[in-house]
Chain length 368, copies 2
């Protein structure tokens, strides 16, 4: 058997107990049996989201839920603000522009995060801005935006705050209700440890007022249809049945372990990774003030081909880590420590990384 | 173990060998290993579609692919023709209207199919109609539209023909290229015997000319993005990885058995079902001229509660059949014979049906 260790920031490793659920015989989605699961999954997601808001399930990747947020909140000609700091923040901007939204963009330098005070200023300067879009864990650079501080700014205005929590949910803390986050999108293939294909979106009353007013043409991602179907414990279109059943089991793991324990675990794992990486003489890419516990982005040492490094990790050792995206292509490597990744997995990966770096001519510093 | 026999027209029973594939450890989607599978799946779909056209994969239910067809082919204000004969035909109309398309609707009576000559006439009367939408196998009523005859009419005009083949593909013949069908949408959870969550769309050059011109705002279902990503053997957004890998195995079953053999098999199974149903003294709902081999829609005898019948089949015997939708709610039952359903499964289901009908007071005729 060839080893397949996934340390990529999505999809993440699927633990054997969830693989087993995915391989079970299918049941029909319009049955009391499946309705009971749908209800349990939704309540389970509310637990992980830390919210009482409605949460709707979409058979799509995370981007589908992002489109649902933009298309349902805004109409062409409306104004939005995107505070971006990487590839997934840029996706909010692309989506807004696609739907004809007048989009003001606050760009943080990659490796840094947007400043809530800049968002505050922008909202004061233009009170007609209807929605603010941010990225909780920006997986392209390995940083976390301070959602709590952003929500503190936005909740005092008429604008709604929509957060991309695709890679952060269940990994780092996100108190949807306590912080006052209006819309949160996420997906099943990061913290929830499942194959991609199921996304979710939480919506509060403030956001629903915009949803009812939006004139953007939408059908598959129309959250009014989701709300209507949910009144009958249903989804408007055929559900991603086996992912939903597996998600129910995944959430049970969160409930058994406890949310805060999970966050503490990932924090420890992230610190361990950062220390271990530094012991190899490598440096961390993002700024220390906003470093993420979801994944660690590491600078590729000068003279080393980052793309080749990732390829060799995969081809020689069966360990998938991610390279850089966009302007960081070839310049960083990214090691995820969400989901069911253990300290031993990280140790194993870094030991392989050390070997390959040596072979590629990098001089690993002598151990202390 | 409780029995779960699915005779519903989607999702269909997942055979054990595909369950096993679905439960395998995940691999990353941006690797040569997955790219090779993507390529093989696409070629395999071309085999089942009987086409050389591009086929794009979407992480969504079948409705997502229908939205992709409408949103990519047409802009607000464009004209379209929908020839509908049931709930899924109505979905084309709803989609067109959602996107501001001026939609002429030819409605066949339920249980019947639209007449190609009516489509011909409508296209002659209004040469500005850009697209015609039809449903190959209308699962709400159990009929098949004559796609070949429709294509013969439409291919002589400037309009493109888009076919919903979600439940028909791989079950009944659809010669995409030979008949000249411009766009065909389908999904993985009917003939391909997989859990829902993966849809596909084939597009030819005539259709692509419209796609390039469409001004409808679209992002997740933007087929220009699909085309661009496919040039690098990729999908624009995270793929439904494990469904794609399982689809590859499902298609291998088609290749081993041979397409025509499969069609013959389903025809035999459908005939067997219809005969067996008639032997119970029951009547077939759709008109004999357009009856489908995908599923058999049966009239519920007068005095019998159709919804209760479906419920009892499920609760007493673990056999899921479908009831009627829309105006047929409670009035018909639908028994699918696509995918891995065998003659023995049908026999078993009908034997349970007979028992329940008797208990509900229906007098089953004496056997010949």
């Amino acid at each position: 058997m060839k080893r397949h260790l996934l340390l990529t920031p999505g999809p993440t490793q699927v633990p054997p107990e969830l693989c087993e659920v995915l391989g079970r015989p299918i049941i029909h989605h319009r049955t009391p049996e499946f309705q009971a699961i749908l209800k349990e999954v939704t309540e389970g997601l509310q637990f992980v989201y830390q919210t009482k808001n409605d949460i709707y399930l979409l058979a799509s990747s995370g981007t589908g839920a992002m489109e649902a947020a933009v298309a349902n909140l805004l109409s062409a000609g409306d104004k939005a603000l995107v505070a971006e700091c990487g590839k997934f923040g840029e996706r909010w901007t692309e989506l807004c522009e696609t739907f004809g939204v007048k989009t003001k963009v606050i760009k943080a330098k990659w490796g840094h995060v947007p400043n809530p005070q800049d968002v505050k200023k922008a909202l004061e300067e233009d009170k007609s801005i209807k929605a603010v879009f941010i990225t909780h864990s920006e997986t392209s650079t390995g940083v976390n935006t301070d959602v709590k501080a952003m929500a503190e700014v936005v909740r005092k205005t008429d604008a709604v705050l929509a957060v991309d929590a695709v890679s952060s949910l269940g990994v780092i803390d996100l108190k949807t209700d306590e912080w006052g986050v209006d819309v949160v999108v996420s997906g099943c293939h990061k913290g929830f440890m499942l194959p991609p294909g199921l996304a979710f979106i939480s919506v509060n009353a403030k956001a629903f007022k915009l949803i009812e007013k939006s004139k953007t043409p939408r059908y598959y991602f129309d959250l009014r249809k989701s709300k209507e179907a949910w009144a009958d414990t249903d989804t408007p279109f055929t559900s991603a049945i086996n992912l939903i059943i597996a998600l129910n089991e995944s959430i049970k793991i969160f409930k058994t372990k406890g949310l805060q324990n999970q966050f503490d675990h990932f924090e420890k794992l992230a610190k361990f990774t950062r220390e271990a990486v530094k012991n190899l003489g490598l440096t961390i890419y993002p700024d220390a003030s906003c470093i993420s516990n979801v994944l660690t982005a590491v600078n590729v040492p000068s003279g080393i081909d980052g793309n080749k490094l990732v390829k060799q990790m995969r081809d020689k050792y069966g360990i998938s880590i991610a390279g850089g995206q966009g302007e960081l292509k070839g310049k960083i490597i990214r090691i995820a420590h969400m989901g069911c990744i253990t300290k031993e997995n990280i140790e194993e990966a870094l030991s392989c990384l050390e070997k390959i770096l040596s072979e590629m001519g990098y001089k690993v510093p002598a151990k202390a």
